[in-house]
Symmetry: C2
Subunit: 228 residues, 2 copies
DNA sequence: TACATGCTTCGGTTACGATCGAACTATGCA
DNA sequence: TGCATAGTTCGATCGTAACCGAAGCATGTA
């Protein structure tokens, strides 16, 4: 006993339903205020405030004051990755929420996983990029190829800029709904914001799901065909 | 709120210190009895029994009756992977146990991570195999090469047998002490038991740490040189 | 059959933490 | 200066779950 890192502490932080709901809400990638997070957790602001203080002390959250608002985000993408990991595990055990709510299908189709695209569409995109030879894959590892670099340039993404950052370019992230990998990393992030910029898709207000416009969906599917 | 899988449930399961200690003890890979786990958790058997029932209901543990003993193990290697994940995260935030105990250095040098070798030695082994061209690595992904297959045959491991199983041959696992990857998967398991069989190393009684004999350590270091 | 060991179930206690109302601080706006 | 909004801190309540002693099963051994 008493060996190694303290997993109980972060388990306990995630283990409270209200906190778990707030963290899940922050997986949407947007910074949220304490009041918004209180609503997400289904609790009053006072209670939320103490929860947020604990999460911040545990280094799961970061906050930034702006005027009289206090915006909270996940501390970094390691937190997002951890949460998605646990979600994948929980989903694999059938520890789903009681009933598959009405928003469930949209969530499975396309959603934000911290800062990149997940769900059916996210998995499809990665599959297509691999099939095309734009990305090399060995198991969980992903690497952009030279061909991939030029493919992305056509879409409107300059990989050179991304390479400058410390963050890895390609990362695989296990998708809890599809139970397969989708593309994370700075490239995953760039692709998603590219879709937003082009107007192919938009975020939804209180949810992590991503809505594609009819035209956006058509173009997305054409750009990332299955089995080619 | 109420989106996606129920992370709070498994967070809560891991979040109790007694349960976390029991789970950590089971990361040693050995099946343990309820009494042993009670000791690991620092609680009485009665209390341990209720904890174990909860963990089993949550599908984190599996048990197997044998005579009047009841042996508990982690339900599968997904659980082990999850726990190591969380450990890595916790260690990265400095959420270490209060003081680095006396056993800490041994643990950092070589320990069991569910069923394969971790710690400094585990990381070194993977590095060496990659440097040698026995394993291809792209990011987190690992794949055994043809050359690697014959290398392993010399060590005394028949890869053909391992390939028959459903479990992936090579998997990378983030090492919480080294913060780099070591080798998991059925190959990682096979290598560790190979070391045990040869008498190079042995488990310790109440701990996850692996003790190499002087001769075993010499041979290990020669077999897996750094930077070659 | 009797007894020991391993574990579970029951009952009752206790402690911790989640919760909210109310009061307080801070920022912004008029 | 006064008022509104955002958030924290305080105090008190309440519920749950961790905990252990004691009793109850189950299995093995003499």
């Amino acid at each position: 006993m008493k060996e190694g890192p303290d997993i109980a502490q972060i388990g306990a932080l995630i283990g409270d339903p209200a906190r778990a709901n707030m963290l899940t809400a922050l997986m949407g990638g947007k910074a949220l205020t304490a009041t918004e997070l209180a609503a997400a957790g289904g609790i009053t602001v006072q209670t939320a405030s103490t929860h947020l203080a604990k999460l911040e002390a545990g280094q799961l959250l970061a906050q930034r004051k702006q005027g009289r608002h206090r915006y909270f985000t996940l501390a970094d993408d390691a937190v997002g990755k951890l949460l998605e990991n646990i979600m994948g595990f929980a989903a694999g055990r059938g520890h789903l929420r009681h009933q598959p709510g009405p928003k469930e299908p949209a969530l499975r189709k396309a959603r934000i996983c911290y800062d990149h695209l997940a769900g059916d569409f996210g998995v499809r995109m990665l599959d297509s990029l691999v099939a095309k030879g734009a990305i090399d894959a060995i198991g969980d590892g992903l690497a952009l190829t030279g061909k991939g670099e030029s493919t992305l340039k056509c879409i409107g993404i300059d990989v050179g800029d991304l390479k400058a950052s410390r963050r890895p370019l390609c990362r695989s992230c296990l998708d809890w709904s599809e139970r397969r990998a989708h593309l994370a990393g700075s490239l995953g992030k760039a692709l998603l914001s590219n879709f937003f910029d082009k107007g192919w898709a938009r975020r939804t207000a209180g949810s992590r799901s991503v809505i594609f416009s009819p035209d956006g969906e058509r173009q997305f599917l054409a750009l990332f065909p299955i089995g080619a």
